[in-house]
């Protein structure tokens, strides 16, 4: 009788966990930072300068970049690549360019392997490319919106979810490498 109960409870816990993860997987708030309302940043015309691809060779990451917006508390996300917050600055222009994506294996699951000194390539629609060097990485709370704030240097902030039930954000900050930019 005891073992029957044990199996039943265990099965119920598994099903509840699976349902929770399934809901969380499609939750548009999953990648959000709490109470962050980005102010519009003046960007150049996106016609040719739109970023199209994110490449981190050391971590086997090569993904399309999809423009995304924050609407209220809903952060547009994609399952096809990473999202570039169009309210943030254009990668390579002055300011903090915010790029984020799910921590799935085929997306940014391997982002946690990124270390300071690694190079990040951003390819653009016009065929040009800019190189950024990772300056720092950290695990922060989604309440710590300081990581998304604008800055006067040219940098990108790349993040994904991490921790138990994705309660934290793994953040990678990279600055443009002037020597390697073309």
């Amino acid at each position: 009788m005891m073992s029957a109960k044990l199996f039943t409870y265990f099965g119920a816990v598994c099903l509840i966990s699976a349902l929770f993860l399934l809901w969380q997987r499609s939750n548009p708030k999953r990648l959000m930072f709490s109470s962050f309302f980005p102010s519009k940043v003046e960007t150049l015309s996106l016609k040719d300068s739109q970023p199209t691809r994110l490449i981190i060779r050391n971590s086997n990451i090569d993904l399309p970049i999809i423009p995304a917006k924050v609407k209220g508390q809903n952060w547009e996300t994609t399952t096809q690549g990473v999202s570039w917050l169009i309210n943030s600055s254009l990668p390579g222009e002055e300011g903090n360019s915010v790029i984020y994506g799910h921590n799935w294996e085929n997306l940014l699951g391997n982002l946690i392997s990124v270390k300071p000194g690694y190079q990040i390539e951003i390819a653009y629609k016009d065929g040009s490319k800019k190189i950024f060097t990772v300056d720092s990485t950290a695990i922060v709370s989604p309440k710590n919106i300081s990581v998304l704030k604008q800055s006067k240097d040219k940098k990108i902030t790349l993040y994904t979810c991490i921790g138990l039930f994705d309660e934290k954000r793994f953040v990678v900050v990279a600055k443009i490498d002037k020597k390697l930019a073309n």
Partner: protein, 181 residues
Amino acid sequence: MSRKTFYLQIFIFFFLFLTILVSSVFGIVNPPDFPSCVNPQGSVVTSYSTGTHGVPGVATAYQGSDTVYKVSNENLSQCLCTENNEGIQTNWWKVSSLTSQEIESLKTQGWIFIPDGSAWGLDSSAYLAKNSNYSCRGRGGIGGGEVLGLAATGNIKTIYALFSLGFLSLTIGYLLRQKQT
């Protein structure tokens, strides 16, 4: 359900309820928000590109760069980047207005009480300090502290595995119950 189990459940419920109630009423002070060292905010108070630096609560001395930012009148962030690319962020919170009970409560959350900040080049006032780790680009080239992250929770394979395991366990549980009755 036996009477013993029923009373045990009532006891656990009240214990949890009282724990939450007591912790929300007594000695809980919300620490201020500190910006992360990956995107420091505020004005620079001091900055050293090299040298030996200390961290509150840690006996080791570190070699590397160290910058202190004034976040507000009461708070500072210290961003230390060692030559091994290990970053240590120390959040400094001036706590002259807190009671000893509140300070004791915060100490249980990892804050370190510094009775006199002047020993650390700060105002001659009491501070609470809290350290956290990050990785930075020091002189160590590529590399840095390891990040201890859990596996991705949104992995569809994990979800399928949990569904399968759940259904299997429920089926076994049902069959065992049928067999016993």
